[in-house]
């Protein structure tokens, strides 16, 4: 068994662009999510009282209420972004439980990309809500001298987002791989169950933190 931490093997190349295993996994996960979304929406349209439709309603309503609780009002874009992150991360973590599949969230490039999306979403949401000047002003409050600390804070929390998710998923996958290599096939089952729970928990944490960060930017002008 080949265990890797930071490496991301290239499966094939399209011209100068290398196609890695993580890219293939995340693409498959995205396709599965889209197919599931189509199935759920079809159920919602045709059989709104079916339990599949209830799941769809539950997911959307849960994230809408979560955004409303954190930000103070409903925000469809933020809810869609955070719910998509939760679903994508959770699906990647679940896919990592399959034998021979390397979870996409076990790659620092993937978690960095997600953190970068959140990092870019924060100023976009803040500027869109409060305007450029009002958003920039919040970096200088309560004292202009604290502006570098604000910038460092945003960078560090973005880094923390990426590293937290990467570390948890990669470590869990690594422990399961080590146990499989050392003890046998069924021994790491409890660890795999724990890894499944940790994967869902990390997805939830990532989504919640993204809502908090974006919500803070939206309400920055009102402080």
């Amino acid at each position: 068994m080949h265990l890797r931490i930071f490496g991301d093997p290239v499966v094939f190349q399209i011209g100068p662009i290398p196609i890695t295993e993580t890219m293939i996994t995340s693409t498959v996960v995205s396709m599965v999510l889209l197919v599931l979304a189509v199935v759920l929406v079809n159920s919602v349209r045709t059989r709104p009282d079916h339990w599949i439709s209830v799941i769809a309603f539950l997911v959307v309503e849960t994230f809408d209420n979560m955004v409303k609780d954190i930000i103070g009002r409903r925000h469809a874009v933020v809810a869609t972004l955070s719910a998509s992150m939760f679903l994508f991360i959770a699906a990647c973590n679940l896919a990592g439980q399959l034998p021979g599949v390397h979870p996409a969230t076990g790659s620092l490039a993937t978690t960095s990309a997600l953190a970068a999306v959140v990092f870019l979403s924060v100023p976009i949401a803040g500027i869109q809500t409060n305007g450029l000047w009002n958003y920039i002003k919040h970096y200088f409050r309560p004292n202009p001298l604290l502006m570098p600390l604000h910038v460092i804070s945003e960078l560090s929390r973005t880094l923390a987002l990426a590293v937290r998710l990467f570390g948890n998923v990669m470590s869990g996958h690594l422990v399961v791989g080590l146990l499989v290599a050392l003890a046998g096939f069924l021994v790491p089952t409890p660890i795999m169950a724990l890894d499944l729970l940790i994967g869902l928990l990390q997805a939830y944490i990532f989504a919640i933190l993204s809502i908090v960060y974006i919500g803070a930017a939206i309400s920055a002008g009102t402080e």
Partner: protein
């Protein structure tokens, strides 16, 4: 291009595309369905609230109508009770008057029956007494009774013969003797010449004298009739006197 950078860029683009696709394919329709459900629920809720308000209003109207009807019914009942009481009192008064009239009629009828029975009894008693007196006078009859009756007739004739009393008719059961005729002529005085003597066997002893001023009946039949009439009259007087006392007692007790 390094694999890490390519993965980073691909994952960023992949996630953005996935988020956009999920937002378009999943979140938007589901939110729309939720909004439709919510609107339908609110519409149903408003409709239910409107119906509840309508029901409450109708209930209040029904209650108001019910109260008014109950009040009207109470008034109608009171009025009807008063009318019924008045009618009952009127019926009772009429019945009481009718009963009083019937009672009076019965009393009068009873009194009339009592009078009739009394008169019948008096007549029967008088007839029996008169019969007894007639038998007695017949048994004691004779010249002395004849003379006594003629003397009595003469006394009465003298009392009324001061004026003209003719014509005079004298009846007896058998022809009178000369002495008796002379005695009667002397009593008649100036009217003696126009005297007609006749015989009536049913008279018994004595004479019956019919004059222009009246009748002098001194015969046994006349005495018997006089006794009978006197007895009936006396019994009638006594009976009326008794009834007056009886009525006075009834009035006093009432």
């Amino acid at each position: 291009m390094s694999a890490t950078l390519a993965t980073f860029l691909f994952e960023s683009a992949n996630f953005l595309v996935l988020a956009a696709a999920l937002g378009w394919l999943f979140f938007k329709p589901v939110r729309q369905a939720l909004a439709d459900h919510r609107n339908k629920f609110e519409a149903d809720n408003r409709l239910a609230a409107d119906k509840l308000a309508e029901a409450t209003r109708m209930q209040q109207e029904i209650q108001t109508t019910k109260d008014a009807l109950q009040l009207e019914l109470q008034e109608f009942r009171t009025k009807e009770m008063e009318l019924a009481q008045q009618k009952a009192q009127q019926i009772v008064a009429e019945a009481r008057g009718q009963a009083e009239r019937e009672r009076e009629a019965r009393r009068r009828e009873a009194a009339q029956m009592s009078d009739t029975q009394r008169d019948t009894l008096a007549e029967v008693s008088a007839a029996a007494a008169a019969d007894t007196v007639g038998r007695l006078l017949t048994q004691i009859g004779g010249p002395d009774l004849q003379s006594a009756l003629i003397n009595s007739a003469c006394v009465q004739l003298r009392e009324i013969s001061s004026g003209e009393i003719a014509p005079v008719k004298i009846e007896s059961k058998e022809p009178l003797s000369d002495d008796q005729i002379a005695l009667l002529r002397s009593a008649l005085g100036s009217s003696a010449d126009a005297t007609d003597f006749r015989v009536d066997e049913g008279l018994g002893d004595g004479v019956r004298i019919t004059t222009g001023k009246g009748l002098i009946d001194a015969s046994v039949r006349g005495l018997v009739q006089y006794a009978s009439q006197s007895l009936i009259k006396e019994m009638g007087l006594r009976a009326n006197h008794h009834n007056r006392l009886q009525h006075a007692g009834d009035d006093y007790s009432t």
